[in-house]
C-alpha cells in the first residue's frame, strides 16, 4: 500500500513549517527594513532656484558669493550657506562650485602667485582654468562642477551644481 513518496511526511512538515515561519518573519521584518531604507527611496526634492546676487555686481573676474538656502532635514530645517564662484563670460553667467574635484577641499581664485589667472586648491596644489577645466598634471581629474543658473529681473538664481563633462 505504502507508495514511495517523493516528499516524505517529515520533509513536508519541514517545508510547511519553514514556509509559514518564513512568511511570518518576513511580515515582521519587511516593515522595519522598508522603514530603515526610506531615505534612498524618497523622491528627490525638486530643485529650487536660489537668488544669489545681482548681475550688476558680476565682472569677468571670478568672485566668491554666498548662497543661502534652507535644507530639509526631516524634523529639522537647516540654514545652509555655500560659497559659489561667479563671473561673466561675455554675457553668459558662469557659476562654479568651489569644491575641488580631487578630494573635496575648497578652491580659491588666483591665490597661487605663479598662476594668478587660475583656481587653486591648497590641499594638493590642484589647479583649474577660469572655466573650471582641470589643469593636466595636477591632482584633480575633472572640471569644477557648474551650477544651473537663470537670470530673472537682473538677479542671478542658482540651482544645483552638476559635473561639466
Amino acid at each position: 500500500m505504502e507508495k514511495n513518496h517523493n516528499v516524505s511526511r517529515r520533509q513536508f512538515l519541514t517545508y510547511a513549517l519553514l514556509g509559514t515561519g518564513g512568511f511570518m518573519a518576513a511580515g515582521l521584518i519587511m516593515p522595519m527594513v522598508r522603514f530603515g531604507v526610506d531615505p534612498i527611496l524618497q523622491a528627490d526634492a525638486e530643485e529650487d532656484m536660489i537668488d544669489v546676487v545681482s548681475v550688476d555686481e558680476l565682472t569677468d573676474v571670478p568672485q566668491a558669493f554666498d548662497m543661502e538656502y534652507e535644507q530639509d532635514h526631516g524634523w529639522h530645517v537647516e540654514q545652509v550657506q555655500e560659497t559659489v564662484w561667479i563671473y561673466l563670460d561675455g554675457d553668459e553667467v558662469v557659476a562654479l562650485s568651489p569644491v575641488c574635484t580631487h578630494l573635496g577641499c575648497t578652491v580659491n581664485w588666483g591665490t597661487d602667485p605663479d598662476n594668478p589667472e587660475q583656481f587653486f586648491c591648497p590641499c594638493h596644489f590642484g589647479r583649474f582654468e577660469r572655466d573650471g577645466t582641470n589643469i593636466p598634471g595636477t591632482p584633480p581629474t575633472e572640471p569644477l562642477h557648474r551650477y544651473d543658473h537663470e537670470v530673472r529681473d537682473g538677479r542671478v538664481l542658482l540651482g544645483n551644481p552638476s559635473p561639466q563633462v
Binding site: L28, I29, P31, R34, F35, G36, D38, W75
Partner: protein
C-alpha cells in the same frame, strides 16, 4: 548549494553539535498543547521572548530617526511616524509590543507560580525571572518618556514622585533618575541611555542565564 556551504563550514569548525544542542531537547507531553490544549499556558515564556525580540528589532530601527533631545525629540517622533514609510507600523510595533511584553511576562509568572515550577531546584531561576520582570518594568518606564509629549512628561513626573516617597533616600533616587531636580534635557538623555543600553544589556545577560538554567534543569514535571 546551501548544503555544500554548510558542509564546508561544518568540516572545519564542527558547528553541528552546537545547534543540535540548542534545537534538540525533549518537550514533555504535559507542556505540549497538541496533547492537552490547556498546556498553552506553558507558551507564555516563549511568547515573552518572541515579543522581546520584536521590541529589540523595532527599537533598533526607531533609533535611526529618534533624537533624545528636548528640542527635537517630539518632532523626530512625529517625523518618523508620519513621513517615513511604515513609520506608523514600526512605532506601533514598539508601542503595543511594550504592553504585550508586560502582559506576557505577567502571565508567565502566574503560570510558574501556579504550577509550582519555582520550587527546588529552580529557586535561582525564579529569582532571575523576578529580576527580568523588574528590568522589563524599567524598560517600560524609561521608554514612556522618550516621545516627549505631555503624557510622557507627566507620567514620568508621577514616577519620580513615587521614587521620592521612598523613606530617607527617596530624594536621592529621584535626582539620580532625573539627572537633576526637574525633568528636562538631562532626564531625557539619561532615560534614553538607560532604555537603549543599560537595561537591554542587563536583559540579554539575564535572559541567557534564564535559558541556560532551563536547559540544565529541564522543564518542571506535571501537576
Amino acid at each position: 548549494m546551501l548544503q555544500r556551504i554548510y558542509d564546508w563550514i561544518d568540516d572545519r569548525i564542527d558547528v553541528t553539535p552546537l545547534w543540535r544542542d540548542v534545537a534538540d531537547h525533549e518537550v514533555p507531553e504535559h507542556v505540549n498543547p497538541g496533547y492537552h490544549f490547556s498546556a498553552f499556558v506553558y507558551c507564555f515564556g516563549g511568547l515573552t521572548f518572541f515579543t522581546v525580540v520584536i521590541q529589540i528589532l523595532s527599537g533598533m530601527f526607531l533609533t535611526m530617526y529618534y533624537v533624545p533631545d528636548i528640542v527635537n525629540a517630539h518632532a523626530s517622533v512625529e517625523y518618523l511616524q508620519t513621513d517615513v514609510a511604515f513609520g506608523m507600523i514600526v512605532r506601533g510595533m514598539h508601542h503595543w509590543g511594550a504592553s504585550v511584553v508586560i502582559v506576557m511576562v505577567f502571565l508567565h509568572t502566574l503560570r510558574v507560580f501556579f504550577t509550582g515550577s519555582y520550587k527546588k531546584p529552580r529557586e535561582i531561576n525564579w529569582v532571575v525571572g523576578v529580576l527580568l520582570f523588574f528590568i522589563i518594568l524599567g524598560l517600560g518606564f524609561t521608554g514612556y518618556l522618550l516621545p516627549w509629549d505631555m503624557k510622557a512628561y507627566f507620567a514620568t513626573q508621577v514616577g519620580l514622585e513615587i521614587a521620592e516617597s521612598v523613606p530617607v533616600v527617596g530624594d536621592m533616587i529621584s535626582n539620580l533618575l532625573a539627572g537633576g531636580e526637574f525633568i528636562g534635557a538631562q532626564t531625557l538623555t539619561r532615560f534614553f541611555a538607560i532604555h537603549v543600553f543599560f537595561l537591554p544589556g542587563a536583559l540579554l545577560g539575564l535572559i541567557a542565564i534564564h535559558f541556560i538554567m532551563i536547559r540544565r534543569q529541564g522543564i518542571s514535571g506535571p501537576l
